[in-house]
């Protein structure tokens, strides 16, 4: 803001719809976690979250959305036990591209949800909120991937 003038930085800024009625949905479910992939990570962390009854996991993968192959079986186990596992990238200004390398394609085949360019922390909080709204995993997946308030931008620009 500069001299009473507001500069809108988003080019697809959505104006508030004044006709819309406010409806508060404040419920959160804390059984969601964020795991950042790094070399030497112990995949048992994923198993631990599963054991503790966590419902969802946001992975913060490298580059286009990868984790080491040695984590695959833990991820598979989590998904088979109805845990929602979604991918974000450590490259905060970048976007996932999970069909470029086999690693990404394999993760998608396991059932990992790609979240485009959603920030890892945003994804975590969103996932907590999502499980506050629904207990149905399929509905939760749809809601997590829906672009509700600009947490996903369909285009990455150069500047």
């Amino acid at each position: 803001m500069e001299k009473d003038e507001i500069t809108v930085l988003l080019d697809d800024y959505r104006k508030r719809n004044s006709a819309r009625k406010l409806c508060l949905k404040p419920k959160f479910n804390e059984k969601a976690a964020l795991v950042k992939f790094h070399p030497s990570i112990n995949p048992q962390i994923i198993e631990w979250y599963l054991d503790k009854g966590y419902r969802g996991l946001i992975l913060e993968g490298t580059g286009l959305g990868h984790v080491g192959k040695y984590c695959f079986s833990a991820i598979q186990g989590a998904i088979e036990n109805d845990m929602l596992v979604a991918m974000t990238s450590q490259c905060l200004w970048g976007r996932l591209g999970m069909t470029v390398y086999d690693q990404g394609r394999d993760l998608i085949a396991l059932g990992v949800l790609p979240l485009e360019d959603m920030l890892p922390e945003t994804a975590l909080v969103k996932l907590m909120w999502v499980f506050g709204q629904t207990t149905d995993i399929e509905k939760a997946k749809k809601l997590l991937q829906a672009n509700i308030a600009h947490e996903i931008s369909p285009r990455t620009l150069y500047d």
Binding site: D11, L64, G94, R95, G97, T99, V100, R105, P154, R155, T156, L157, Y158, D159
Partner: protein, 633 residues
């Protein structure tokens, strides 16, 4: 020229590329629109062809690369993202585009593939930031019917459009990447078309089919047709980028003529006993001859320390200036090839001299320096030593090819129906898999759904339009072939204006206005709808249409209501009309006395002139008749 096309073995295949009107581009979410004005950003690239990823480099591209050509890309943030810049992998294949291509495929009874595999087609002229164009076959086979004849379709594909070339200056080529990635549907026929007229009809029919999907863009530059043309004894020539349907027949005619004349030159060269080995790459530096020249081009070159190199083409005299097809000569083809390989502005040849300020004396000295015999031709260029050498090598190569007749090449279409050399024909193995995008499986269930909801076939639509809107055949055809058939139906449904009037406006009136220079492409569907709703609610009249349309074409985004206001074309109220008629009658009292009822025609004409289309003739007639009757009795 009367050519029996069946006797010369003419074979034409058509490839139609049409931009789709999707919400976003083929591999990203950018807006598939072109931008006007200045780019917000530019970036410079060099292409480095590699033999990797199974791709094969074509010699022309390698050559460009070795010459150190740089490419400057222009972009705005609305029309390009990191995908077009090749800084981010492509996103998923646009489903809307796939569906449109499938609909077209099913309409022509082609067989959709089980899996769509996106491929990369090597393109190293810089028109794609990646060095390749993404393309995928969506369906194979199928056919269309032209006058009882079946024309087989080879495939229906989807492609990303290339960047558009804006400028070429020395070592830098400028491309705008707004067009890059716009979805194109490609429909390719087998080479079974045997006359120019037939080629036109095939193009027309495919165009109608594409428009029937209602998912194609309209306007110049949104459709591009490539033609493959060959005749017996000639060669397979690929002509790229025909932008207008009207040009298809003419381009085929011209290409046939060009090939026939090249064959004639071949025969005459044979009679003169010219052999390929006689045409030697012996380039003579003749710079000193032109030290005092009056020729501006050479003067300028010499000021920049460039050289003049000459080569002798034995027994070629007369051939270079001979017209092949209207506007195309062998000399001009050599110049185009010299430009391609040597980046020279042009070539000089003795067939067209003296001219351009070059004197008979200079020509004489030139002839001596290369030992020119009377039947020989001399070609020379003024450029850097390297460019001149490259250019003359290309000229020699082209002269040798003339001995064999027609060389295979890719040519580009000009707007006047002529063509120009573009590049040598690329090798066949230019495709390799796009590894960033997994194959897309087409489910039977999905295809069945599409098949059950295909759009109306054009013939069917024509019959229906004739019946439903009581249009005559000519008008029904015109509206169907225009870009306005959808908007016509919308307007005909939402207003009570006579469909014939709507159809005439959208075809003949717009055509007449175009001829007068009105840019009717600027008129939006919304403006047209509003215009007819104004006519429907008697806020203006159909007589005012041309004036309103012309105004709207110059005021993009303005409303028809505003046009009516500005042009003062609102309907005159009944009261005002009555007052005007009364005034007029008052002024013409004597005429009325003399002629009585017979004055009607004259008075009517006067009123109509005064109201300038702002009153309906029926209403004027009614009031005028009533008043006349009152006055006379």
């Amino acid at each position: 020229m009367n050519i029996e096309y069946s006797r010369i073995g003419l074979k034409v295949g058509l490839e139609i590329h049409q931009q789709l009107d999707t919400a976003s581009k083929l591999f990203c979410s950018c807006n598939p629109q072109l931008f006007k004005g200045e780019p917000v950003t530019t970036f410079l690239r060099r292409l480095r062809p590699t033999q990797s990823e199974l791709g094969q480099i074509d010699s022309a591209a390698l050559f460009e690369f070795q010459k150190g050509v740089k490419i400057l890309y222009e972009a705005t943030s609305e029309t390009a993202c990191l995908v077009e810049m090749d800084e981010e992998p492509p996103h998923d294949l646009n489903q809307e585009a796939v569906e449109t291509a499938l609909v077209v495929a099913l309409m022509i009874k082609a067989k959709p593939v089980d899996e769509i595999h996106v491929m990369r087609k090597t393109v190293i002229d810089g028109s794609n930031t990646t060095g390749f164009q993404r393309t995928c076959v969506v369906a194979l086979g199928g056919e269309i019917n032209i006058n009882e004849k079946k024309v087989p379709i080879q495939h229906v594909s989807l492609e990303e459009d290339a960047a558009r070339k804006m400028k070429e200056e020395d070592q830098i080529i400028r491309y705008r990447i707004d067009r890059l990635g716009i979805p194109l549907i490609e429909v390719a026929t087998s080479p079974v078309i045997h006359s120019p007229q037939e080629a036109k009809e095939v193009a027309l029919t495919i165009g109608r089919l594409l428009r029937a999907t209602r998912k194609v863009k309209r306007g110049l530059g949104t459709i591009r047709q490539d033609l493959n043309i060959s005749i017996r004894d000639g060669a397979l020539i690929e002509i790229k980028g025909v932008q207008k349907l009207d040009l298809v027949a003419l381009i085929v005619e011209n290409e046939v003529q060009r090939q026939l004349d090249l064959i004639k030159i071949r025969d005459e060269l044979k009679e003169r006993e010219v052999k390929a080995r006689d045409i030697k790459e012996e380039f003579v530096d003749v710079t000193t001859i032109f030290k005092q020249t009056k020729c501006k081009v050479i003067q300028k070159a010499l000021e920049q320390n460039k050289r003049v190199l000459a080569v002798k083409l034995p027994k070629f005299a007369g051939f270079l200036k001979r017209e092949l097809a209207p506007g195309m000569r062998l000399g001009a083809e050599m110049a185009e090839i010299a430009h391609f390989w040597g980046r020279v502005g042009g070539i000089f040849h003795t067939d067209e001299l003296p001219a351009y300020g070059i004197t008979a004396n200079e020509i004489h000295e030139l002839a001596q320096s290369v030992s020119k015999a009377p039947l020989d031709s001399v070609v020379f260029v003024a450029d850097t030593l390297e460019n001149s050498n490259n250019a003359l090598e290309a000229v020699v190569q082209r002269a040798r090819e003339a001995i064999n007749g027609v060389p295979e090449e890719t040519r580009a279409a000009n707007l006047d129906g002529t063509t120009r050399y573009m590049r040598p024909r690329p090798g066949a193995a230019r495709m390799y898999p796009e590894t960033d995008i997994p194959p897309i499986h087409l489910k039977n269930e999905y295809l069945r759904k599409l098949r059950d909801h295909l759009p109306e076939m054009p013939e069917q639509k024509m019959r229906r339009m004739k019946k439903e809107y009581a249009l005559n055949l000519k008008l029904a055809k015109q509206i169907l072939d225009s870009e306005y058939s959808d908007i016509f139906e919308i307007i005909a449904k939402e207003t009570k204006v006579s469909p014939t009037i709507i159809a005439v406006t959208l075809t003949e009136t717009l055509k007449a206005l175009r001829r007068e220079g009105t840019n009717t492409e600027k008129i939006s569907s919304e403006q047209l709808r509003e215009l007819f709703s104004l006519i429907d609610s008697v806020k203006t009249t159909k007589e005012a249409i041309p004036e309103i349309v012309t105004w709207l074409s110059k005021h993009e985004g303005a409303t028809a209501t505003r046009a009516v206001e500005v042009l003062e074309l609102e309907m005159i109220s009944q009261k005002e009309l009555e007052r005007m008629i009364d005034d007029l009658l008052e002024q013409n009292r004597t005429i009325m006395k003399e002629r009585g009822k017979g004055a009607f025609g004259l008075l009517m004409g006067n009123v109509m002139k005064k109201v300038r289309g702002r009153a309906k003739a029926e209403v004027v007639t009614r009031i005028l008749k009533k008043r006349l009757k009152e006055i006379i009795t």
